[in-house]
Symmetry: none
Subunit: 230 residues, 4 copies
DNA sequence: AATGAATGAGTATTCATTCAT
DNA sequence: AATGAATGAATACTCATTCAT
């Protein structure tokens, strides 16, 4: 049944809608727009039409590529995860130099490749929506968190083995790397965008430098004078 | 008008809402139920009827106390934030002992009073919903983050002044306290609930102990052998 | 989130919408309206809002009582079927008189109780939508067609046993009763409503009288002069 | 322009549509596919893309031949109805033999040429969709029902005139021929496809034989012993 | 005060139809 | 002529909010 407005030849504006054919590019454009909006507003508060509009297509086109909003969400998460650790593992396998430098390089590189890009939104997304998408949360744990733990664990172990780092409880020490980075992206995607006037903004590079500095001090083998009684 | 203690009762414990009818308790029960659900599912994905049901009242009653779902959300945040730092400031003003012990006490106490209780959900909420409620985010920054920064800043400064901690960039060092604690509540309320089988669970007390340990090492005045070239 | 028009207090007409509370009566009213519309336009072409409007309620109310349009359809069919044959079986069990009279009474009564009422629409519905609702079609076969076959079969057998009717192939003879009645309701709900000008309308009572007459002639024991060679 | 025989090909057989590309056959294949689907699912529940797919062409091609789904429906009905009675009238005009045989031949032939073929779907369609397409219903009445009435009327009148049939109310007696045949196609296209296990299936040829038998008995001139009191 | 039936704007999704290729 | 990507009006369904009881 043709829409009434079309039968009556009603055209609100002079510019006809652009009907570009970009089948190859569509999914990527839609995933990008969806990532932006899901990160910014959350899954439930993001309207499908908004995603389509930001990707420059109509509502219908979105559903041409993703069968439902939920599948779109899953695709957004999977897209940003797929095959990200393989390259990293190789890269750090061949790293030469002190493990301290390695850790610093590791965290700075993470910022450049993940933290500073849209991909960091995935972390925000999962933290915010995990309980609404339990299967995805487990998938994320397996595909992202576990490999990340392993990679960091290997770096720390290298430092200990080479006598650069002190003995630590590895399972929890890993969080000393993960926590500040995770906090950074959460901050960037939430309160960081609502900086109240008067407070100095958090500069990511400086934040990371400070965290690395504190971490390397914390891992150093020299005894501290802190808590001598303990 | 319900007594303030009732209104604030959601901060005190995790005990499930009582289904017995105590008229004066209604707003508090609703706020408690709302906090639970908003934290778990987000603002948009939480249905008003669900909140009412969990509070043991009917849908209509919810709107008797709160004019809209949005106002309910704001009330949840505001109630949970109200003046927590006055007592804390006083408490730590009178603290005697090493600043290291003070910092450890500080972080452990935060876990007992905030992190382990429903109140920690507010942090999760604000991180997740900040961009949907910018005014609340600014309110949160002013009422929670800024006082927290100041309190932590004062503790760290005490350590430096007393020669216990090394010289650091205060603005960023504060994040070395805030980041791990914030990460903990985010984790607890999101991915931590979706532990994939086979991985060891994160035990909050041990996590905090580890973070404190690393932090105090990182703040210690002794030089490290890390990056001797630098 | 309150609808914008309500926040702005836009009221298009002076008469406020009637908010009658009629929980008991709603399902019946909705089923009645749905039967009308499904019969008239088919399942797919009937809009849920239309059903609600004809029942004098809003869209939302419909879904308060029936979880989906499909469930509404099923309820419509089931409602018109439930416990219809019990009374009939008893009634005809106690019939006294010739079986011819019985059959005439049977078909006239069917018209009064079913054919002339909205219930006849169910037959039209099932004939039109059977392949869209296969499970319902089977349900209808079991709950309506099979009992009807049995009832008619018992009547015809009575006539044969009493020597009033000739020997016939019972399985197919039953259709000599069912077919004309089914045709009548199909006609009434379809082409009968589109009588082209100039043609005489089909008067149900006369149609049934004619069919009964033909049927009883057809069942009579006297030999016919038709097809003597056969 | 495809030859008429192609356009009408849907009336001739039930053979599945050929997927090989014969450009000239497109409209016919589309009409065939459309008839199948409209009959099976109804107009509203049939998707244009499905019709195209079954005809082995793309969605766009359908609208190349038919300006809208509604026009496609009308074309399906019109094509299937076109002039069928001229040949029949001539055929039966020249029939020799008893009118009983004529009527039997007539009904059997109808089954072979119409009832057993896809063309019978048109009857199902009109019965189901008449109220959604009143103009088509009137068209159908004029082109199919009225000629059919006249043809049957002439046959019955021949029997009466020749003393083979008893006096009857012609207008209604005609329905004694039409009703069982119409019922048969409705059954075949609806509930007949949902035979519940355990029940014997309706065999069309036997059904027709039974109906003819009953009809000829009913039309016979010999008095019956039925209702002697009346 | 409390209830829960009723409302209707809003949203995901479908699908007839268009049009660039 | 044919394709199928793109469109957007239409529709089922949800849920915050209202209000008669």
């Amino acid at each position: 049944m043709p829409p009434l407005s079309r039968l009556l030849s009603i055209n609100k504006s002079d510019e006809p809608p652009r009907r570009e054919r970009r089948k190859e590019a569509r999914p990527g454009e839609l995933l990008g727009a969806a990532l932006d909006l899901f990160v910014e507003k959350g899954f439930a508060a993001t309207r499908a039409e908004e995603v389509a509009a930001r990707a420059g297509v109509s509502k219908g086109t979105l559903f041409l590529y993703f069968p439902s909003k939920e599948e779109l969400f899953k695709a957004v998460v999977r897209e940003s995860i797929t095959g990200r650790f393989n390259e990293w593992n190789a890269e750090f396998e061949s790293f030469e130099g002190s493990t301290g430098d390695m850790l610093r390089y590791c965290m700075n590189t993470w910022w450049e490749r993940i933290g500073a890009t849209k991909a960091s939104g995935i972390t925000k997304l999962m933290m915010s929506e995990a309980s609404n998408f339990p299967e995805l949360a487990i998938f994320y744990q397996q595909e992202v968190m576990t490999p990340a733990h392993q990679l960091i664990g290997r770096v720390l172990q290298r430092g200990i083995d080479r006598g650069e780092f002190r003995q630590i409880d590895m399972a929890y020490a890993i969080f000393s790397v993960i926590a500040p980075l995770t906090f950074l992206v959460m901050w960037k995607h939430s309160l960081g965008a609502c900086q109240p006037i008067g407070l100095p903004a958090l500069v990511p590079e400086q934040y990371i430098a400070s965290q690395v500095d504190m971490l390397l001090h914390g891992l150093s083998v020299r005894p501290t004078n802190e808590n001598p009684k303990k």
